[in-house]
């Protein structure tokens, strides 16, 4: 292995933290979904690192399933964004206060 597995895991943790920050801080719905993609990518990175570390292809298989679920999540999430945008123009979460008491 060209680098120790801890380096890959640390990179994955940093990328996941950036994704968490983006999801919590951004107000644009689409960019929040993209932050979820960043988090999923970080998880894929650590799965690939473990797969290389343990010489086992199951990590890569799991990463492929993560990619499939990410595609499904993007489809449903963006469909929801379009449906919301039809009722109330804009994609900001601060406009969606109908259910707030």
């Amino acid at each position: 292995m060209i680098v120790p597995v801890g380096v890959v895991l640390a990179l994955s943790a940093v990328l996941f933290g950036i994704g968490v920050f983006g999801f919590l801080a951004r107000r644009n719905l689409i960019l929040m979904l993209v932050s979820i993609e960043v988090m999923l990518n970080a998880v894929n990175l650590s799965l690939a690192g473990f797969s290389r570390h343990f010489d086992d292809p199951r990590g890569q298989i799991l990463a492929l399933f993560v990619i499939a679920v990410a595609a499904a999540e993007a489809g449903v999430g963006l469909g929801l964004v379009i449906a919301l945008n039809r009722n109330k123009p804009g994609a900001s979460v601060t406009d969606l206060t109908e259910l707030k008491w």
């Binding site: 060209i2 940093v14 920050f21 990463a63 993007a74 469909g79 994609a91």
Partner: protein, 179 residues
């Protein structure tokens, strides 16, 4: 076994992916954010290549960068958000969000690595490979055999999930003609 060119490539891709991820979540213009996410995906694909996961790298480029990101860009341009650049990009609670992100990253680091030792002291030892033996990973036929052998049921379930996602996206985004 370890030669410095591959290590230098790994550290370049690690630095570039962290930089493009930070830029992606902080840019004001959503289209610029998308392009930085594209840079992130391509660099992560390069890291997959260095980790002997060639099939995963190809899927990352084709599916993530080629399909999912273009889908996001289409929806972004379909919605046409001209006021997005003018308004504040973060909510007023963004320091809390930054603390959450940094805290989660530190927690994951501690949980995965065990200590701040860079070699991964908390991880079990790597699998040993007999000298002269071919590396079993990164091999498309092996991934395919695993996908259609022991992982056949999850593979079919992934196709069902994708079908459900297609149907639900059509149902959600359809324009309702009658009340």
């Amino acid at each position: 076994m370890t030669f410095p060119a591959a290590q230098a490539a790994f550290y370049y891709m690690a630095a570039a992916s962290v930089t493009s991820a930070i830029l992606a979540v902080t840019r004001r213009n959503p289209v610029h954010s998308m392009l930085w996410v594209l840079a992130l995906f391509l660099h992560v694909a390069g890291i997959f290549l260095l980790l002997d996961a060639e099939f995963l790298a190809a899927v990352q480029v084709i599916v993530y960068a080629g399909a999912i990101l273009i889908f996001y860009l289409f929806v972004l341009m379909l919605l046409d958000l001209p006021g997005e650049v003018a308004g504040p990009r973060f909510g007023p609670h963004w320091p809390l969000a930054a603390a959450g992100g940094i805290g989660f990253a530190a927690l994951a680091w501690l949980a995965l690595v065990g200590t701040f030792h860079p070699a991964g002291a908390g991880v079990a030892t790597a699998a040993v490979r007999a000298p002269g033996e071919d590396p079993p990973l990164g091999n498309l036929s092996q991934v395919g055999m695993a996908l259609f052998g022991p992982f056949a049921l999850p593979f079919e379930m992934a196709s069902l999930i994708l079908l459900a996602a297609i149907v639900s996206a059509v149902v959600l985004a359809r324009r309702r003609t009658q009340p």
